[in-house]
Amino acid sequence: MPSLAELSLEKTVDQVLEKNRSQLLESLKLSFSESQQQLSDSLPELEKEYERILSEGQKEAEKIEKQIVGSSDLEVRNKALLLVEEHTSMVFEKAKEQIKNTKRDSNYSNLISTLLTEATEALGTSEITVFTNSTDKDIVQSAISKISGADLSSEQIDCMGGVKITSKDGSMTFDNTIDARFERMKPLIRKNIAAKFSLGN
């Protein structure tokens, strides 16, 4: 038979155990409800995070799309530009060839006279030395006979046609050869040729 003291101890142990059990249960319940609360609280956070990741992904995708489209557009345009340039140069070469072989007729003589007058006016003096190529020598000689003070140089220049004049003191020069005029007009002519290839206006 247990003694009174033993019974009392057992009762106290039971009481402590009971108290701990109820505390433990209470704490478990609280933890359960807290974790449920946390779970429901984190849902909107999760949704927000999900939205953020989605929108960042979207932004990144748009950025990459812009990059790819941009660089491909440029690449295509640049290739077209090079192609047009190549063909424009071919047109120029062909044109130069034709100009070089132009018949030296009366029209051409008139052209030389015009070029000479223009050049003399630009220098503002008729005391000039005229340079030309071997083909145009005779035409130029006859044109300068009308300008007093003008001499034809024995030195010949390499050009398609036209004249280059220098003041007698050598301080001023005006290049009115067809080559020089061609160079001056090149950007405009180029624009017109490119327009034929449906590029530029």
Partner: protein, 460 residues
């Protein structure tokens, strides 16, 4: 202008610094383009600065190194310097004189425009009032850029102005309209690595397609820098007024431009003004800055963002000083913020966008924009005062409200101001961040914002 362009003179009287003085010139005109031909047949470009007494003073863009009095010829072309323009210039890279630098041929021109531009009829100017989104929070939120505005960035040597410039060039756009947008970027006297950074940055972001780049490098002749902003603005004007685009022109670094101007002025033996810059620096800068604007009846606009580095961070230096007189506000980069690692290090208390108020608000950005921006200005200013006070009495001596302001200041710099270099924030995001930071303060401290906005946007 000569009646017939193309006369070549061979009497060179003197070569002085970047100038060539040609003798016996009768018919030259001010600003006329000149081709200088060296003994070896090399050609350089220049323009007439002065004519008279049979002499012409020619400024050679590519410098006079290697030229000699004998054997050098000067051909007066009979026209001013022109830039060939067409829609094709978009996506192209040019040097400081407008010559292709990307290995492609010259653009096929729709027209050839005088690089000095045509002065805008003041009566025809339209007031700037539409928002440009740069994607940079501090600019969009507090120093809003408006179409047709000229808003410079004042920076200092070594600071991140070039990174900011490239970010703006990549990200800038017009919102709420289908109008086309383009960026003209002129780098004046920048290092090769910086020029490469600009080019690569635009190329890799896909923004090169809508951009035009003019790159004048640090080792290019200084005189070329006089031309670079002008060719850039000529292209911008064409895109804006002929093609109806909204164009943002970024000019960096205008200090290098002013220094080139000083070099020419010294060579011409002109009476120097402040710090040796010519007395006409203000007038000259205005011929560049005043090319920004909008014109009545034209759809496009030219907006300018010149960037200049202030020598010794001195805002009273003649270049920022005179620039500030002409432009409509300024964005100032702060050395302290830069040292703290804040990017972009914009010191908002020294910065201002004068015409921001007309480009923001309901129908343009958002109804609360002006008020939340004012509130942030106010609070940041107070935060700076509190920081100074804390430096004396210590944090322990501060009140609860003061501490709130300190927290606001930190949050403002770390969350609103600080931004990644590839982070493109929409105006909604920017305004949201402004509300986030201001929500560090109690509601009763928000005295610049209407209650209805506090109700709507304040974060509890």
């Amino acid at each position: 202008m000569t009646t017939q362009g193309g006369v070549q003179y061979s009497k060179i009287a003197e070569i002085k610094g970047p100038l060539v003085i040609v003798d016996g010139v009768e018919n030259a005109a001010f600003d006329e383009l000149v081709e200088i031909e060296t003994n070896e047949g090399e050609k350089r470009l220049g323009k007439v600065l002065e004519v008279g007494n049979g002499k012409a003073i020619v400024q050679v863009f590519e410098g006079t190194t290697g030229l000699s009095v004998s054997g050098t010829n000067a051909k007066f072309v009979g026209k001013v310097m022109e830039m060939p323009v067409s829609e094709e210039v978009l996506g192209r890279v040019f040097d400081g004189l407008g010559r292709p630098k990307d290995g492609l041929p010259d653009p096929v021109a729709s027209s050839f425009l005088d690089i000095n531009g045509a002065p805008m009829n003041p009566e025809q100017r339209e007031y700037p009032k539409d928002f440009i989104q740069t994607g940079v929070s501090v600019i969009d939120g507090m120093l809003t850029l408006v179409r047709g505005q000229k808003l410079p960035i004042f920076s200092g040597s070594g600071m991140s102005h070039n990174i900011l410039a490239a970010q703006i060039a990549r990200q800038a756009s017009v919102v709420g309209t289908s109008d086309e947008f383009a960026v003209v970027f002129a780098a004046i006297g920048v290092q090769f690595s910086e020029a490469e950074y600009f080019r690569r940055s635009l190329e890799e972001s896909g923004a090169l397609k809508r951009s035009v780049l003019f790159l004048n490098l640090a080792d290019d002749p200084a005189i070329e820098r006089i031309i670079t902003p002008r060719v850039a603005l000529t292209v911008a004007e064409y895109l804006a007024y002929d093609l109806g685009m909204h164009v943002l022109v970024i000019l960096t670094d205008m200090t290098n431009y002013a220094e080139a101007l000083r070099e020419i002025s010294a060579a011409r033996e002109e009476v120097p003004g402040r710090k040796g810059y010519p007395g006409y620096l203000y007038t000259d800068l205005s011929t560049i800055y005043e090319r920004a604007g909008r014109l009545r009846g034209k759809n496009g606009s030219v907006t300018q963002m010149p960037i200049l580095s202030m020598p010794s961070d001195d805002i009273t230096h003649p270049i920022p000083d005179l620039t500030g007189y002409i432009t409509e506000g300024q964005i100032v980069l702060g050395r302290d913020l830069f040292r703290q690692g804040v990017y972009p290090p914009v010191n908002i208390l020294m910065s201002l966008s004068r015409i921001m108020k007309d480009g923001i608000g309901e129908g343009r950005t958002r109804a609360d924009h002006q008020e939340i921006s004012n509130q942030n200005y106010d609070a940041y200013s107070r935060a700076q005062e509190v920081r100074a006070l804390a430096g004396i009495v210590g944090k322990a001596g501060l009140t609860e409200v003061d501490l709130n302001y300190m927290n606001f200041g930190d949050e403002f710099e770390n969350k609103f101001l600080t931004q990644a270099i590839d982070e493109n924030r929409t105006i909604e995001e920017t305004l949201g961040l402004q509300w986030n930071t201001i929500s560090n303060l109690p509601k009763n401290e928000l005295t610049k914002v209407k209650d209805k906005f506090i109700e709507q946007y304040y974060k509890e």
